[in-house]
């Protein structure tokens, strides 16, 4: 390591030590959003890793990364920018219009996002906290197949949060609506009978999520969350639906926080692939297993 790199790293370390602050927008849950926003002038860095695996056939492993920076414009309004990445390893899976061939790469840039979050009611001051989240997202990699695909999305989520037992027990609920326009890039050399449409498609996705977490020791929360998704697409109607639920563990320190959530798919439906044996799950776009680890710190 040269002297310049060492000095830069040491300077960054010093800045982080000196400026450590606590969280207005701490990720208590892995998937469920909380209603709190950052205080004015505060900034937050978050890094997410989500592993998705097991489609009940072949071999499928995907790792989504999300690197996000939030900033509090006012005490009620925060903005964020995020950068997505994707790593994938899929073998012996071919789903018409979804997974055209084996793919393997460690990591590629996959998309970007800009978002706003506005707090209408504070969970600590009002009877219930209420916020709205809105985002614009552009992906150039398809997170299901790992192939090139242009995906533009607008999403809005209504977020409710309630403190119980003076804040020792936290409940949150989300209702979301996402509109997506997507277009696959053409792929040469696919089998003649393989379906790989390259015309634009429109999708509407509805989500509902809820979580409950309890502070069982100073700084430590344990809880559970449930996540429902349904997606409707122009050509096939309801393309899929799924219910995922599982435990979540959160640590919130003075200067950083981390959350680990295991969210397996419990029920699902919609389209399935030929020969699918787990008929009570949706496994074309979703997987049987999902684990998310994320951490954040303010600066």
């Amino acid at each position: 390591m040269n002297k310049k790199t060492a000095c830069t790293a040491a300077l960054l370390a010093s800045v982080l030590v000196v400026s450590g602050r606590s969280w207005g927008d701490e990720g208590l849950f892995g998937y469920v959003k909380g209603a709190e926003t950052l205080p004015k002038g505060a900034a937050d860095f978050e890094q997410w890793f989500t592993w998705r695996g097991d489609k009940g056939t072949g071999s499928y492993n995907a790792l989504d990364t999300k690197t996000e920076v939030d900033y509090g414009i006012t005490d009620r309004l925060s903005v964020s920018g995020a950068f997505f990445g994707l790593g994938i390893d899929t073998q012996d899976i071919m789903f018409d219009a979804y997974i055209p061939k084996d793919e393997k790469y460690t990591w590629k840039p996959a998309g970007v996002e800009a978002a706003l979050k506005y707090n209408y009611l504070s969970p600590a001051k009002d009877d219930i906290g209420l916020s709205q989240y809105a985002s614009l997202t552009y992906f150039w990699q398809d997170v299901h197949s790992g192939q090139n695909k242009s995906v533009y999305s607008f999403e809005t989520i209504l977020i409710a949060q309630k403190y119980y037992l003076d804040g020792q027990l936290v409940a949150a609920g989300n209702l979301g609506l996402e509109a997506t326009s997507a277009k696959r890039a053409s792929i040469d050399g696919l089998p003649p009978d393989f379906e790989w449409p390259t015309h634009p498609e429109m999708e509407i996705e509805l989500t509902a999520a809820a979580g409950l977490t309890y502070r069982f020791a100073p700084s430590w929360f344990i809880g559970a969350e449930i996540f429902y998704q349904t997606e409707h697409e122009t050509e096939v109607g309801q393309e899929r639906w799924s219910v995922q639920a599982g435990p979540t563990l959160h640590y919130g320190g003075k200067r950083w926080w981390a959350t680990l959530t295991w969210l397996p798919q419990l029920q699902g439906g919609g389209l399935d692939y030929e020969g699918q044996t787990d008929t009570d799950l949706h496994l074309i776009e979703k997987t049987k297993q999902e684990v998310r680890f994320k951490f954040g710190f303010n600066f």
Partner: protein, 180 residues
């Protein structure tokens, strides 16, 4: 000795325990701050019955979490100047320890923050914020952004300290008026 690689220092700096002075005042210092004229502080800790805890909750609208409450009499020449009570309330991550001075006629003399482990919201120690509690009685609203200002990023801490002081006024009415 080999130098520590600088890149290791970055995550170490992020995740290392913070070296913040969390304990601001000792009990003795807080006693002197709230009752500077007092010449002695005999202990008068109270153990609350289930009925008393219910009565406190009914009067204040706030749950009395603790069965035991650390209380001292503030005296000058044997005369009661007021009550000094140490309490803990839930912060975002850990408990906040604070002390309240209450006058014998049921008013807040003042509050002092003893231990605050949340990094953000340190303005909770500012005299301007703490002064808002002086003179309050159980008849006051104790409502954030009404009679007590909120501190951005520390709303839960502010709310719980505010509720805590109201609860201590109720405790005084239920338990300390006639004893202990």
């Amino acid at each position: 000795m080999r130098p520590i690689p600088a890149l290791i220092m970055v995550p170490a700096a992020i995740f290392a325990p913070a070296a913040y002075a969390a304990e601001y005042l000792t009990v003795s210092q807080a006693q002197q701050a709230l009752f500077p004229e007092a010449d002695r502080f005999p202990e008068a800790a109270v153990e609350l019955s289930k009925e008393q805890r219910k009565a406190i909750e009914k009067k204040s609208g706030v749950r009395q979490r603790w069965e035991k409450q650390a209380v001292w009499r503030a005296e000058k020449g044997g005369e009661l100047l007021g009550w000094f009570i140490v309490d803990e309330v839930v912060g975002k991550h850990e408990f906040i320890t604070y002390a309240a001075g209450l006058t014998p006629d049921g008013k807040v003399q003042g509050i002092e923050i003893l231990v605050y482990r949340e990094t953000y919201g340190y303005q909770i120690r500012n005299p301007d914020w703490r002064r808002k509690f002086a003179g309050k009685t159980l008849d006051d609203a104790f409502k954030l952004d009404e009679d007590i200002p909120n501190i951005s990023g520390a709303t839960l801490s502010c709310r719980n300290v505010t509720n805590g002081v109201k609860r201590l006024l109720a405790l005084q009415q239920v338990v300390l008026r006639h004893g202990p």
